[in-house]
Symmetry: C2
Subunit: 329 residues, 2 copies
């Protein structure tokens, strides 16, 4: 199977819903922008051994590659439109692997409402890597920024925190399930949250309507919340007892309370952190609940700098590592 | 230097000309599309050991990463607007390396008229890799396709063919300069064409005005011309004696005539192959000459399938490998 055949058999069917992809037979795709809208652009790569395990199911790898990008769009209030995929294989995988990868992409496309517009296929040494550039749109001038929060805004988090970080621990060492007191179903739920993050696409229009600032949480809540506060020129305070935690995570925390630090800093949550003025808070919460992506108030922003996290014991928490950094100091 | 500092010191200055990049302080960029235009999208990665040498000058690596993408835009008639850069380092490079890389990107941006909109910075094992997604625009519905050529169209090639493929041979083995009878200046010109391809941005409006189909030549003229013919449902014939060849390449061919196959199939040309109806040919040639990117008539398209290349001896040529394939059969 040569490069052209690989593209036509594996990827072209995923582009059939997007006219500008021209069936992946051209060098570029075209996109007719929706009238009165700005396009929203983001790119993120996932690599074997860094963002996923080489032996992960190919459909899960594909899902994650797309999900982490669509998560950025959703947090900016954007509706997904199309994406480009640049994929590098150390060796050409088996046809069955490629078919499963394409199936995972197709499932993610259908779930997120996005289509393949184009891409690039390479063979090179090193880990299998999938780099996605995702494109969405918002009404002109309305992208929800990171740095536009106001003092007094309340901080909301979608979904639940820390499932993925603890899921990764279980993915690395399934034996931990027993010491954490989790049954098979609970452990599978946490691992599933690591393998298949759910970008909060349904929340996007409500962020546009109610949030003064937002970003997705991918590098750890403490680090990402500090970034939002810093970009807005404010201080953030988070309250541990208000964090939304899933039942499996609560079970694990009962056995191992220090996992709360993992939940706060582990990353891979792909939940939305939003700053919302007090006057918009109840409308935002109601809209989020109605669209199936409940949000929880977890803290607030005030004049100043830095971030403080109040522990369950009422004392400020400190962290050796606030979140993920590809280039640690 | 952490990830945020790396982004702010190395890359943010390159995004200062693009308002929607928000100084690379947000998770996404926004782009207000030009009214009445379609966006044109492409993505291509360059990796150490595959597309460039790990010891190449960082400014040249940066230039090439952007140039190979802008070349696709130009061949589609598009005006460059913005790009996203996803870069993966096996280890964080020295500050001087990063500064030189950023300088090369800046030079390329200025030369091509494009700005940095966003990106992603990773550390992972494997070769240093830079994946660019480039965005340009054309008047609505006007992207120059690969598959829209007509029987009877003449084939034109911009610039000169094969310089980069022979430049790569010289880059791999500088001693070949002597056996090819090249002086230092000639060899440097050929190597320079490999290191710093020149996307034909100035030709784009004239492709829009005159070409019925076009693509850039990156995987070898024979292979890429066969792709254009196949996408258009036509047969292509190329005439070796009409190929535009630089003085250094002619010198090398005089010593080693079989380098013509390298020129025809080696790739990395980043020239534009255009199909132009006979009635538009002289206007296209004049406009190309006037904008500083001369084009040469090298063959034509007719009813049928396949590609034939007439050698300098008047006999059809055959090739063991028509061009570059990342997944050879």
């Amino acid at each position: 199977m040569g490069e052209d055949e690989l593209i036509q058999t594996t990827f072209a069917p995923l582009a059939s819903g997007f006219a500008g992809a021209l069936g992946l037979t051209d060098d570029c795709a075209f996109l007719t922008p929706p009238a009165g809208e700005d396009l929203v652009l983001t790119t993120d790569a996932v690599a074997a051994g860094v963002h996923f395990f080489p032996e992960d199911a190919p459909a899960d790898i594909a899902w994650k590659a797309l999900a982490v990008n669509v998560s950025d769009l959703a947090a900016k209030g954007a509706r997904p439109i199309a994406y480009l995929l640049s994929i590098a294989f150390p060796e050409l995988p088996e046809r069955a692997w490629l078919a499963a990868f394409a199936r995972g992409l197709g499932e993610a496309q259908a779930a997120f409402g996005i289509a393949l517009a184009g891409g690039d296929t390479d063979r090179r040494p090193g880990p299998l890597t999938a780099t996605v550039t995702a494109i969405g749109s918002v009404p002109s001038g309305r992208m929800v920024r990171r740095g536009s929060a106001k003092a007094g805004d309340l901080l909301f988090l979608s979904g639940t925190l820390g499932d993925s970080a603890v899921g990764l621990l279980l993915r690395q060492d399934p034996e931990r399930r027993v010491s954490l007191g989790l049954d098979m179903r609970e452990a599978a739920m946490l691992v599933g949250r690591y393998l298949r993050p759910e970008p909060r696409v349904a929340l996007a229009p409500h962020l546009l309507a109610h949030a003064s600032a937002a970003m997705d949480v991918s590098d750890g809540l403490v680090k990402d919340c500090a970034r939002l506060a810093r970009a807005s020129g404010l201080a953030a305070s988070l309250d541990c007892v208000r964090l939304p935690l899933s039942q499996p995570l609560l079970s694990a925390l009962a056995r191992q309370p220090d996992l709360i630090a993992t939940a706060l800093t582990g990353g891979d949550d792909y939940e939305v952190l939003a700053a919302v003025s007090p006057g918009e808070a109840s409308a935002f919460q109601a809209a989020a609940q109605a669209c199936g992506v409940p949000v929880s108030e977890i803290g607030q922003l005030s004049a100043g700098t830095g971030i403080s996290v109040l522990g369950a014991d009422g004392q400020p928490m400190s962290f050796t590592r606030p979140g993920w950094d590809h280039f640690p100091h």
